[in-house]
């Protein structure tokens, strides 16, 4: 029983790591209705830039700052070159454009830096948390706990950002209705650039945390594929939904891997999360917290 609890908790925490990546998707979908498939490549871009700067001897915080600036410039450039000419096109066209962007960014990041595996140390050890281990015997990693904490802070601050102040109001107006927002004088382009920059910041945090766990390399961009079930389970446009989705997917996946895996064969983590999300969606077609679209004829 204690073992099951331990598995569940470590699953919940690893689910939060998926939420971090899913958060980037939600931000962009919420503000522009674009399903941004390039989020994984953005995570790779941010992580590679950050780790290479660190290896060049740049101090930690300055490297983080430079990476942030790079991601913001990238956001503005993407908005200018890719999104602006595609305004008012069908969403599937924008979706395909982000897949093209995904290839482009993968090539760019690995072309500018390199395709080697880079170790990344954030100064948080991936070791069991001792007080808990001593009192109950459960092995829960400090790294996982810190990641969950960081994710919580990030979600809370983005929630505040979306609800308070001028920019927050403008963001919500754009999310609600592009044309109405433009009609009352909200600059759509600025808002999109801001949202992509915010997604870039989220990508940096996700890239740094995943980078320590997996090493910074190409496969880090595939984490986005693990984040997709989290995303649809929580709802495409709900910031708090990604946390709930991450918790459910993480715990479900770890428990299935431990208890179901030996029965039907290993390697089920590639698809189990999708199946879990699909079952939930059959009952709630717009995710747990997603906005329901009411169709009228």
């Amino acid at each position: 029983m204690l073992f099951a609890l331990e598995v569940a908790i470590s699953g919940l925490l690893s689910g939060i790591m998926y939420s971090l990546v899913a958060l980037g998707f939600v931000l962009i979908f919420k503000a522009s209705g674009v399903f941004n498939f390039a989020q994984g490549a953005m995570v790779l871009c941010a992580a590679l830039t950050f780790v290479r700067l660190l290896e060049l001897g740049v101090p930690f915080w300055i490297a983080a700052g430079i990476t942030l600036i790079v991601m913001m410039v990238l956001a503005v450039v993407i908005e200018r070159i890719v999104l602006r000419p595609l305004v008012n096109q069908p969403l599937i066209i924008l979706f395909m454009a982000t897949i093209g962007l995904n290839f482009f960014l993968e090539g760019l990041a690995q072309g500018v830096w390199d395709a080697q595996v880079h170790g990344l140390q954030l100064g948080i050890d991936d070791l069991p948390w001792e007080p808990l281990a001593n009192s109950t015997g459960m092995l829960i990693s400090i790294f996982d706990l810190s990641a969950a904490l960081i994710c919580g802070v990030l979600v809370a601050s983005l929630g505040v950002f979306f609800h308070k102040g001028r920019i927050g109001r403008a963001l919500r107006a754009v999310a609600d209705d592009h044309q109405a927002a433009m009609a009352v004088g909200i600059p759509l382009q600025h808002i999109w650039a801001i949202v992509w920059a915010a997604a870039g910041i989220v990508a940096l945090v996700a890239g740094a945390l995943w980078g320590q766990r997996l090493g910074v390399q190409f496969s880090i961009s595939l984490v986005a594929l693990k984040a997709l079930p989290v995303l649809i389970l929580g709802g495409l446009n709900s910031i708090s939904g990604v946390i709930v989705g991450g918790l459910l997917i993480g715990a479900g996946e770890k428990l299935a891997e431990v208890y179901l895996g030996p029965i039907i064969g290993g390697g089920i983590e590639n698809w189990f999360a999708y199946l879990l999300a699909m079952v939930f969606l059959l009952f709630k077609p717009y995710g747990l917290f997603g906005e329901e679209i009411i169709e009228r004829v």
């Binding site: 454009a97 962007l101 482009f104 090539g107 390697g267 699909m278 969606l281």
Partner: protein
């Protein structure tokens, strides 16, 4: 002047409903078929047939399948590579385990098995829509990949990842040379393309389009969403299955689950977007673009290969591929088929301005 319908009167309903109502289109189509059936096998090298034409035809067929589902019925799917894998593995197992069935029958049964799997994974489409559906179809892709990689029964009990496909015999004629493979592929693709073209012009195709444009409204005017969506999934997966079987038997001549990965699903999606959603012609134009683009980039890159590093070429290929796709979507979001439509409109008046 050269291309217009003036003077071609339709005197019966049959003539009005013909596939190619204009004589120029009919002659153009006949010319294309003659080139494909006679001139290419007689006058081109094995390289052109084996490395360009066969993959072009197979991916064109696969793109028709996805175009039926996404372009005509409006259900976005990212699991097409998975359905192709079902076709490939089904055909392999049938050919090895039941060699009595003729190879064409094997392909058809493989397509039907893929169709059945497609219907199962299409069931959620009745409740889940849009991007939510797209992500759930990824479940099909990953689940199918996992099944074929983890259960040795499907690979004939061996643990090896790559299997050679058995040789093919059609009506007593052994398929050996590249030319034979090309003609076999061409025959199957021609028949299925004609079938698809007629399907989308029929009551079934109109029902798909009604569902695509607005499924609630389609339901109100008496189109059954359950049956229509599931037939779209079934037909689409049938085409994917046959294309997957041909991909293994006629092109790779081996069976390997990594040949049907997620990247292929994206490639097919690119083909139909760049070619044109909801267009049979567009499926082939898109397939030609996507198949030829990497080859072209590769050839150009290798001309400079002594000056630049190989890993730079790989990354540059990715960047050029992604960049061209974005460029193309910006310039012509409705695809090559739309370009052809515009050209036809212009040709009707040319060379006179009115």
């Amino acid at each position: 002047m050269l291309y217009r319908e003036a003077g071609q009167f339709k005197t019966s309903y049959d003539a009005d409903m013909a596939i190619f109502p204009i004589a120029q289109d009919r002659w153009g189509m006949i010319a294309i078929v003659v080139i494909a059936v006679v001139i290419i096998p007689l006058f081109t090298s094995d390289y052109i047939m084996g490395s360009l034409m066969i993959p072009f035809l197979i991916w064109g067929l696969s793109a028709i399948g996805l175009n039926i589902l996404t372009g005509y019925a409006g259900q976005l799917s990212l699991g097409h590579g998975g359905f192709m894998a079902v076709g490939g593995f089904a055909a392999y197992n049938l050919a090895v385990r039941v060699p009595e069935i003729p190879i064409l029958g094997t392909f058809i049964i493989a397509g039907l098995i893929a169709a059945a799997v497609g219907v199962v994974f299409g069931l959620p489409s009745l409740r889940i829509k849009g991007f939510y559906l797209a992500v759930t179809t990824l479940a099909a892709q990953f689940f199918i990949e996992w099944v074929f990689a983890n259960f040795p029964w499907f690979t004939g009990g061996t643990m090896s990842m790559t299997l050679d496909t058995p040789s093919m015999v059609v009506f007593g004629y052994a398929i050996e040379s590249t030319r034979d493979h090309y003609l076999l592929t061409l025959g199957i693709v021609l028949v299925l393309t004609l079938a698809a073209k007629n399907m989308v012009r029929s009551q079934l195709g109109r029902a798909w389009m009604a569902i695509r444009d607005m499924d609630v409204a389609a339901e109100v005017i008496g189109i059954r969403p359950l049956r229509t969506k599931l037939t779209a999934f079934a037909v689409s997966s049938f085409y994917a299955g046959v294309a997957g079987a041909l991909y293994a038997f006629a092109f790779l001549k081996s069976l390997d689950i990594t040949a049907y990965d997620l990247f292929r699903s994206f490639l097919v999606l690119f083909m139909i977007i760049i070619g044109g959603l909801g267009s049979i012609l567009g499926s082939f134009l898109g397939a030609a673009f996507i198949i030829l683009l990497p080859i072209f980039i590769n050839v150009v890159a290798h001309n400079f290969s002594d000056q630049i590093k190989p890993d730079f070429i790989t990354n540059a290929e990715l960047m050029i591929f992604g960049g061209l796709i974005i460029f193309f979507l910006i310039v012509e979001p409705f695809g090559l088929a739309r370009l052809w439509m515009t050209a036809k409109e212009k040709l009707r008046l040319w060379p006179f301005p009115h």
